[in-house]
């Protein structure tokens, strides 16, 4: 296992950051697999620094009002709505 591979606690921490609940079996499985996969990703160390020569241009459009979804359409897939708004869980 590489020095930087996350242990079970770190896998749980990353899962918390990503807001993905995991059960204990998944934590164990991912800990093993991440060691292999991240070891493999470490071969990127061999890549030389390369100058990027891309010509970058902005492709902004005019900020004009356009046709959009109706409120009804926008809310159609929401599990819960109230008075024309999305209804979500408490923020804190």
């Amino acid at each position: 296992m590489s020095d930087t591979s996350p242990g079970p606690e770190e896998v749980r921490h990353v899962a918390d950051l990503a807001r993905v609940g995991l059960d204990d079996d998944e934590v164990e499985k991912f800990t093993d697999q991440f060691a292999d996969i991240l070891d493999y990703f470490e071969t990127l160390d061999e890549v030389p620094e390369v100058d990027r020569e891309a010509d970058l241009v902005n492709v902004m459009r005019e900020d004009e009002v356009r046709e959009s979804l109706s409120q009804e359409e926008a809310l159609a897939n929401a599990p819960e709505t109230e008075d024309g708004y999305f209804k979500g869980p408490n923020v804190s």
Partner: protein, 425 residues
């Protein structure tokens, strides 16, 4: 019957305009491409009952061209997989090799064409997801140059890499479908003008006299013996038609797979953050606070491969690791582009086996994600370099169909279509 192969997640007919270039054609659409009023699941429980209120640009173009859409094709969940086994709706089967996977992630789309359930299909290709199932199912698939086809209405997995593209029984039919869907779109600022008045279909002339085909040794060495045999036979055939074949070296491709997965997972971790079960998608219920409800919805409704990629992407972008993984992956991407640019100074197209093996057996790759990732070695370089690539059937070996891949310079679709059509003759 499609039920035999589990090709469609939703079978629903959408009639197109009365006439147009696709008036006599039926098309299967990958289930991550939005269709107004027709359920679009991305192969995920998360979007089990999601019904988009609008059409993707490519879907508008299909119906304007007269095509009849016959269903939403099965796929790896959110495009994450190489076998169509990670679908929440069960794996699709390969009609051309029973007991084998159809490849992924556009496995349902390729299987629909191979089984005759649709004349044509649309897939999406982030790291090979059109070309891999095209090769495994014995059909033609094209991954267009980045920016040729609008991604408006494609449910995003890794924006900087993915393109929608055609699958068809022949190169000419795939090219004709590409003619319909390509071109600029004011709703996707990454589209370019090159495909606006295209006539790719008439490029399928089969004429390769005087064409130089480069073969990157790095992309042939790892292939199975049987696959190599079919690949070399295809090259011999092109030489007999007047093409010149020469070896080239692309040292950067040795790092393409790890660069691809770091970038794709990083983009996925950001893109899939929108699935919180509040505005659409599976809800975890509203017990507890936002973070708890959000985590619960995602625990319940995302499959294992999706969780794996979100977590690895989150990790690769996190403080302290960003330079180690993401920045180096971007360097590798620039190196791959540079290598391809140099190669195209001396050759017209690059050729390799599409997949290093014949179709995998069902279940073979699921327990070892790293092994599955490594199978994409030949397809991911084109996505990293934003280049067009085609997979054309090159016969069968024990285990099923084999595909040969041609990669062209940016917006060189006509070139790869011309060379691809010569393999068919």
């Amino acid at each position: 019957m499609s039920a035999d192969h589990n090709i469609f997640v939703t079978e629903e007919t959408v009639e197109g305009a009365a006439d147009g270039p696709l008036a006599d054609s039926t098309v299967a659409v990958k289930d991550n491409i939005s269709t107004e009023g027709v359920r679009t699941t991305c192969g995920s429980e998360m979007l089990d009952d999601y019904v988009p209120p609008y059409d993707a640009t490519v879907v508008e173009k299909l119906t304007e061209a007269g095509a009849t859409i016959v269903g939403k094709a099965n796929m790896d969940e959110f495009g994450m997989g190489s076998t169509t086994e990670t679908s929440a709706f069960g794996p699709a089967e390969n009609p051309a090799a029973p007991g084998r996977v159809p490849g992924g992630s556009s496995g349902g789309s390729a299987a629909a064409v191979a089984a005759g359930e649709a004349d044509l299909a649309l897939g999406s290709d982030t790291g090979g997801s059109i070309r891999n199932p095209a090769a495994f199912c014995g059909v033609v698939g094209i991954k267009p140059t980045y920016g040729l086809v609008s991604r408006y209405g494609l449910v995003a997995y890794a924006n900087s890499l993915e393109q929608i593209g055609p699958l068809a029984p022949t190169v000419e039919e795939a090219a004709a479908l590409l003619d319909v869907i390509s071109g600029p779109d004011e709703r996707d600022a990454t589209t370019r003008d090159e495909g606006a008045d295209s006539d790719y279909a008439s490029a399928a002339t089969g004429d390769v006299d005087g064409t130089t085909v480069g073969v990157p040794t790095e992309l042939v060495e790892g292939a199975d013996e049987g696959v190599r045999g079919r690949f070399e036979a295809a090259l011999d055939d092109l030489e007999s038609q007047g093409a010149t074949v020469e070896e080239v070296s692309l040292p950067s491709v040795e790092h393409a797979v790890e660069a691809y997965y770091v970038i794709a997972m990083s983009e996925a971790s950001s893109n899939l953050a929108r699935f919180d079960g509040v505005r659409y998608g599976h809800s975890g219920g509203f017990d507890g606070n936002w973070n708890e409800a959000f985590s619960k919805a995602r625990e319940e409704a995302f499959g294992e491969e999706v969780k794996r990629r979100i977590l690895l992407g989150t990790y690769a972008l996190s403080a302290g690791y960003h330079d180690k993984y993401y920045k180096q992956a971007q360097d590798a991407r620039a190196w791959v582009k540079q290598d391809f640019d140099e190669a195209f100074e001396s050759v017209d197209v690059l050729a390799s086996p599409t997949m290093p093996t014949p179709p995998f057996e069902v279940g073979e790759s699921l327990d070892d994600p790293l092994q599955m990732y490594l199978a994409d070695a030949n397809t991911v370089p084109a996505n990293l370099a934003d280049l067009p690539a085609i997979s054309v059937p090159a016969g069968e070996v024990d285990g099923g169909p084999v595909g040969v891949q041609f990669v062209g310079p940016a917006f060189g679709e006509e070139e790869i279509i011309r060379v691809g059509s010569a393999v068919e003759q």
